[in-house]
Symmetry: C2
Subunit: 347 residues, 2 copies
């Protein structure tokens, strides 16, 4: 592989001149400029990224630490990041599936010297603290960190507002006895959605009861399980708010298997507006979050951080959610509902 020295030798100039030409960094006569360009192209020369990084201490790469890659949510976040990042001529260095703080830190350390900034989506609070302490030399942005993160840029989802809105919608339709299938309680999104659910009920003067708050773990089977438990309740409910769409699908399956009709007998709502929600039967009322935008904004924010101001100024941004009313709650059920954010696509 050709190096800058080969180009310099071949072109009869110094390496400094070659560097200047390739970076448009200083005055070089038009003739040598053209000549160097020609030689570089002929030798098929491209600068070595590692060497360049070492010299400039900039890498044009931003690191991404994710808890996992399951489901279309992360996929969309990543797509948003990639879209944003490539406009700026950057790349994404991705590492996921970090169970604990130790693994997270290990991944972070091997990224040392390879990234200009870091985006972390860590549900684990300890890990976040550790990262925040270690990473003083480049910008850091936390996605969806919950509350109480100071000295650090964050961006999160309006989980509370979204849950509040969808439950209020159910209340508005006349439902009084509304259950929820909760997410895993360690998860910050799950906590906030639960809080929104409770607040909406309280504000309507119909406070939640413990037996209406059914555990779940964001998977479809746990939704099915929760749905089955609902069917066994002494006093039946008329509506269910599942903390995410996958669980809502499970609930609808359980109700269907028990011969209970949706939405005639029980209304169902979810959270996330995943692609398949509008193709269900009936289509699912849910809360839309825009994971693409989340990724896009995260990168945009990170790239705009002044490197010298790391740790001095920070900003917490909240990405709004919006209520999407479809057939599963009974208010607009009229057959095939195709409203949604873009067509299903893949491959």
């Amino acid at each position: 592989m050709a190096t800058i020295k080969d180009v310099a030798r071949e072109a009869g100039v110094s390496v400094a001149t070659v560097s200047r030409v390739l970076n448009n960094s200083a005055a070089v006569s038009e003739s040598t400029r053209a000549h160097v360009r020609e030689v570089a192209a002929r030798l098929n020369y491209f600068p070595n990224g590692a060497a360049r990084s070492l010299s400039t201490s900039r890498t044009h790469v931003i690191g991404v630490l994710l808890p996992d890659l399951f489901g279309e949510f992360f996929s969309e976040v990543l797509r948003g990041m990639d879209s944003s990042v490539r406009q700026a001529g950057f790349h994404l260095l991705v590492s996921s599936s970090h169970a604990d703080a130790e693994q997270l830190l290990a991944a972070l350390h091997t990224m040392r010297g390879r990234i200009d900034g870091l985006i972390v989506m860590a549900p684990d609070v300890d890990a976040r603290a550790a990262i925040q302490a270690t990473t003083t030399d480049f910008p850091l942005l936390l996605i969806d960190p919950g509350v109480g993160v100071e000295g650090c840029n964050t961006i999160s989802i309006a989980n509370y507002d979204g849950a509040y809105a969808v439950v209020r919608h159910l209340l508005g339709l006349g439902h009084r006895r509304i259950a929820t299938i909760m997410g895993p309680l360690r998860n910050i999104d799950a906590q906030q959605r639960l809080a929104g659910y409770r607040a909406a009920l309280r504000d309507a003067g119909a406070p939640s009861e413990p037996e209406l708050e059914i555990p779940g773990d964001f998977t479809e089977p746990s939704g099915y399980e929760g749905g089955s438990r609902l069917c066994a309740l002494a006093t039946p409910v008329t509506a269910v708010f599942a903390a995410n769409d996958y669980m809502a699908i499970g609930v609808m399956g359980a109700l269907s298997d028990a011969g209970i009709r949706v939405p005639e007998d029980v209304a169902v709502a979810g959270f996330d507006d995943i692609a398949m929600s509008r193709y269900l039967n009936p289509p699912l009322t849910t809360v839309r979050v825009d994971p693409f935008r989340l990724g896009e904004r995260a990168v945009g924010r990170l790239l705009s951080v002044d490197r010298s101001a790391v740790g001095k100024h920070w900003h917490h941004e909240v990405l709004p959610t919006s209520l999407v009313v479809r057939g599963s709650c009974g208010s607009t059920w009229g057959g095939r509902a195709r409203s949604g954010a873009g067509p299903l696509r893949g491959r």
Copy 2:
């Protein structure tokens, strides 16, 4: 940030010794070893990746060039890659959304000196040729390149076999007049699936007719459109094979809107076995491909390549597909079918 020099100075040894301790590379007395470790930990020192790469010309990063990131297919491929890569202590440098050969090459060039190997999923044939020509200094693996790629490692999906199997299944159920909704014809998967469809019909003595081969582009709306065209056919069909699941969903929507029942009036089958296929009503008969495994194998293969043998030995691997029979083709329809590869999960 502490460098190796700081550690050396603080520990009263040379940088060489520090390096040796941290890499376990040569004989160092137990006492200095312990001392250096202690100092490094105290200064919170971690080696700079760029410098290390420059010195060793190994980066512990592999590059991934993708055409796009839409849909769960790519997300799963990426998850498989990540899972495989982190076992080996590597990271993934991702870049996607490359429309043409020029963009692809540009991304590749900025990766120069940053990666130890490259995985490319490029539907564009020209781009592949260009990459293959440029990239002689590290291992390259092509995903799903179609045919005629010599001198290069590849891994692909048994599209032809899968399509053949699903169409033969429909034939076995007694269907004779079977339509297909094709994918975009530039796409190699689409071509191979079409070929499998045709071969199965031909071998059954019921050759395809042009009016049964309906254009599509792998999106759900194009499937709906295709389904509508099917309804308008003079001689109706009794079965449809959509070249992917998203289009099959569209077809089922169109049939439903036209008052045609699935599977009673028309059988429907798809390809890919995306997560939502088994939650449709009726659940979709389809062909399973395992994108996670694809990503996993791709990385595994790449990491096992002997760097000195690049361009000398190569191997083409084909990942098998399997037929998944569910309700939409009428043979096993009996309510909620939950068979599938793992639960729906996300967040």
